[in-house]
Amino acid sequence: MTITNKGMIVAGLISLLLLSTTAARASQDTGPIQLTSMAEVENVTTDESGKQTVKRVPASKVVPGKDVIYTLVFENTGTLPGNDIVIQNPIPEHTVYKADTAGGTDTEISYSVDGGNNFASADALTVSGADGSTRQATASDYTTIRWKYTRPLPPGEKSSVEFRVVLR
């Protein structure tokens, strides 16, 4: 137990050093793993023969009620593999998460209804009412989505996760 504590303290010291080093570098986007976030909408066009084409374009003209697709791309631009990758995205203000749209290869997905303090899988998540009763949480209760990437990300590789919201 004592040894473990010492080990933890040592680890703690190491990461504190890292913390200060990172602060000195200031800019986040020069770190080994980089994360970009893109917002898109789907535009449906119908040609003369009635055939519909769905095209994804960057979100710009978005009226309330329309779906917005967020794609988060994470890339390892460093020389060492990254592991235990966890991505968290608070559902943007004025939007509602669209059920079952969160996805990503090799990910375990969970949700929070309390602003990111606690996460659980969709079927395990509950909300309590004012009278103390609990019910299963629905998509409109979610405040945050979390993806755990289940494998390491080797240098030079990238992957992505995505989710959809509806603009209020």
Binding site: A11, I33, G82, P90, G115, G116, L167
Partner: protein, 353 residues
């Protein structure tokens, strides 16, 4: 280590709380136009056993620094006109009202132009009303109250509505004398969204998208006025109400029988000989949905051959004030009311000269 992680988590929690507050104030019509919708994700990872600094997402990798992913909410024009039901009317009556409610179901404040469109005779309805007008329904909803309800002048802005606000309206018209029982007259009330405080129809933004400027998009469905007049996504909506006529439909049948030949023989054997009494029976039936009022029945008696014997007898179905007057040769019978679905039977007698 713990300190760094908390920092990342704390911002997520704060955003979560903000989300809860914002949701409580949202309009049914949607988020206000021009609002920025921002997104930022956080990635945590390790190299080997060691935690690395958290990474926040960049929405614009081409630009220096870490950008939040953002776009603007555009203006959504949406309006809903609803009919609050039809009206039953009696012929030859003025100021009959159809009730409507117009709601701003978009996300911005608008003014509105109103117009009425008559149903197509033979296709949609049977006749047209006269003197069709629009009023703002200020008093009791659905009831025309002169002086309380405000007349609407065509081509003007009926009044601005904020998102989610609604206004009650009336179509008021006069029923002509001609339509028959159960005939209908249909009217659409059409509204077109204008820029707030103006009579300029709100235009949908055409051309290339611009993330920094609020565009306008129409979102409403097609209304009742039909293709070409009120299509989907044209900044207009309409609903229709129907006036249905309830009239009295009156028929009369007259029969006669010799009820006393003067020597004590009655119907059916009594013959129509001088001195005999003849009884006339009038059966007046109202098969309409409205009460028939103030009926006047006249009979020209052939006074060369008969003498009128007062008085006429009015049956149970002849209600209201009943009376008769005889001014040779005309017998006039008055019945106040023959109610809907009622039968009024009147009998009167003459003697053969």
């Amino acid at each position: 280590m713990k300190l760094f992680k908390s920092r990342g988590r704390m911002s997520a929690s704060l955003t979560g709380l903000l989300l809860l507050v914002a949701s409580a104030g949202a309009h049914a019509g949607g988020t206000a136009p021009g609002t920025d919708i921002d997104n930022q994700a956080t990635l945590n990872y390790k190299v080997g056993p060691t935690d690395q600094p958290a990474v926040t997402s960049d929405g614009d990798p081409g630009t220096d620094g870490n950008q939040v992913t953002t776009f603007k909410v555009d203006r959504k024009v949406d309006l809903t006109m609803v009919s609050n039901g039809g009206a039953t009317v009696v012929p030859n009556t003025d100021d009959q009202a159809l009730s409507f409610t117009l709601t701003n179901t978009g996300n911005d404040t608008h003014g509105y132009l109103l117009s009425t469109i008559a149903g197509l005779d033979a296709t949609d309805d049977d006749f047209d009303m006269a003197s069709v007008r629009i009023y703002i329904d200020n008093g009791i909803v659905g009831t025309y109250e002169p002086g309380t309800d405000t007349p609407y002048t065509g081509g003007t802005n009926v009044g601005d509505l904020a998102p989610d606000a609604a206004i009650n309206l009336l179509i008021v018209a006069n029923t002509p004398g001609t339509p028959a029982d159960t005939e209908t007259s249909l009217y659409h009330l059409l509204a077109q969204a204008t820029n707030a405080g103006t009579t300029t129809a709100t235009a949908e933004t055409a051309g290339a998208d611009d993330t920094s400027v609020v565009d306008t998009a129409y979102a409403e469905a097609a209304g009742s006025a039909g293709a070409g007049t009120d299509d989907t996504q044209d900044g207009k909506h309409s609903a229709s109400g129907t006036y249905t006529v309830q009239a009295a439909t009156v028929t009369m049948a007259k029969t006669s029988a010799v009820t006393d030949d003067g020597f004590g023989t009655g119907t059916p054997n009594a013959k129509a000989i001088p001195g005999a009494t003849v009884t006339y029976t009038l059966v007046i039936e109202n098969t309409g949905a409205a009460n028939a009022r103030d009926l006047v029945i006249t009979d020209d008696l052939q006074v060369a051959n008969v003498t009128y014997v007062p008085s006429a007898s009015f049956g149970a179905g002849c209600t209201g004030t009943t009376s008769e007057s005889f001014s040779s040769p005309t017998l006039t019978l008055n019945v106040g009311i023959v109610a809907s679905a009622a039968t009024c039977t009147i009998t009167y007698t003459v003697t053969i000269n």
